[in-house]
């Protein structure tokens, strides 16, 4: 890690295609957005929008264009616009994605692109769902470091391997794409859901933490890990590439080996 990096010569030949590039292509897209506004009606509707978009545009850009130029009442959450804040998980062409990470050119633009709210959480308006139940499950797994030893004056030591052990699950941005893609969560919303388990995993396997047992106990519940049916929807949906099902399996193993 500490080895000096190679210093390249100060001038290199650039590949030809980097210099050129050509025009940015534009194309027309047809978005079908699932609308719902309880102030107006209990029924939801599909609204169709046609917009012209460009090369690197994402579904979020298309939604913005619609909101800013066609219909200002189209409502959705968003903030960072590059896949790190977790605001804009929604169902695009039937699958959970972040709108800001889904490039239009990667979708089949010859057909309408459907955009719906994520499933399993109460819809509040258009693409906005109530996230409270989701965060409640998160809070219930005690997602914070608990260390019973006395505080060292400097940092706690942790080997690079121990740090690596839970690296994957530290990446979670709590976007709910996983939990709301889980067929078990859809049924009654009682299942803790993959995101909560991922965040429990992050601490259970942190060598500095002393409360793994408590978290395992919490997840050894009728609504806990045992409800997972390994459908892998969560893993496929996770915009951070977290191996969610793997993490759940590891938690199951941890409970088993503790009990037996």
């Amino acid at each position: 890690m500490t080895a000096e990096l190679a210093e390249p010569a100060s001038k290199i030949e650039l590949p030809a295609h980097i210099g050129g590039g050509g025009d940015i292509p534009s194309f027309d897209v047809h978005l079908r957005v699932r609308r719902y506004n309880p102030e107006v009606s209990d029924e939801s509707t599909w609204d169709d929008f046609h917009v012209t978009m460009y090369g690197t545009d994402r579904v979020l850009d298309a939604l913005h264009k619609i909101k800013w130029e066609i219909d200002g009442s189209v409502s959705f959450r968003r903030s960072c616009a590059h896949g790190v804040c977790g605001s804009d998980a929604m169902r695009i062409n039937g699958r959970n994605r972040l709108a800001c990470k889904t490039l239009l050119k990667d979708l089949d633009t010859s057909k309408p692109i459907t955009v719906e709210p994520i499933k399993g959480l109460p819809v509040e308006k258009d693409l906005i769902v109530d996230m409270e139940p989701f965060f409640q499950s998160f809070r219930e797994v005690m997602p914070f470091l608990i260390n019973r030893g006395h505080e060292p004056t400097k940092e706690r030591l942790q080997s690079a391997e121990d740090r690596e052990r839970f690296d994957d699950t530290t990446k979670c941005i709590l976007c709910a794409a996983c939990t709301s893609s889980c067929p078990v969560f859809w049924t009654d919303g009682q299942y803790f859901g993959p995101a909560a388990i991922v965040n429990a995993h992050r601490f259970i396997f942190d060598s500095r933490d002393d409360a793994g047992d408590m978290r395992l106990e919490i997840l050894n519940d009728k609504e806990g890990v045992w409800r997972c049916r390994t459908t892998f929807n969560c893993t496929e949906a996770c915009p951070r590439g977290i191996q969610v099902t793997q993490a759940i399996a590891e938690v199951k193993q941890a409970i088993l080996s503790r009990k037996i």
């Binding site: 169902r91 893993t235 399996a249």
Partner: protein
């Protein structure tokens, strides 16, 4: 929550559809098992009764049904082993997709073999 119109179907991938299959086959087998235990119990009632009911199984339609049932059992069994591998094998989650394809290939092979044998026996008659 909005009522109509319903949203689209979630476009899950292999994992989700294999689970749907596993669940359906599980229930199908379960109900068959209930009936199967009942009909087998007839041996206790009387040999004639049993033989009569079993005789009813021995027609082409039932033969197809049986093939379907065996198809369900074989899929459920192989996929069940895949699920167990995902749960207990370190690399199971990573290779779940490959394992599913293996399950399906095995399933086809077994079912082709079984169907040929079973249907020729069942339909061939004496």
């Amino acid at each position: 929550m909005p009522t109509k119109p319903a949203g689209t179907l979630y476009r899950g991938r292999e994992g989700m559809w294999s689970w749907v299959g596993h669940r359906i086959t599980g229930v199908v087998i379960f109900f068959f098992l209930l009936v199967h235990v009942l009909d087998t119990s007839l041996v206790r009632v009387s040999p004639e009764a049993y033989t009569a009911v079993i005789g009813a199984y021995k027609n082409p339609l039932m033969a197809l049904g049986e093939t379907g049932l065996v198809a369900a059992i074989v899929f459920h069994a192989f996929n069940g082993l895949r699920i167990i591998a995902v749960d207990f094998w370190k690399k199971g989650a990573k290779y779940q997709r490959q394992m599913l394809w293996t399950v399906l290939i095995l399933w086809v092979v077994v079912m082709v073999g079984f169907s040929i044998r079973h249907l020729s026996l069942a339909l061939g008659g004496h």
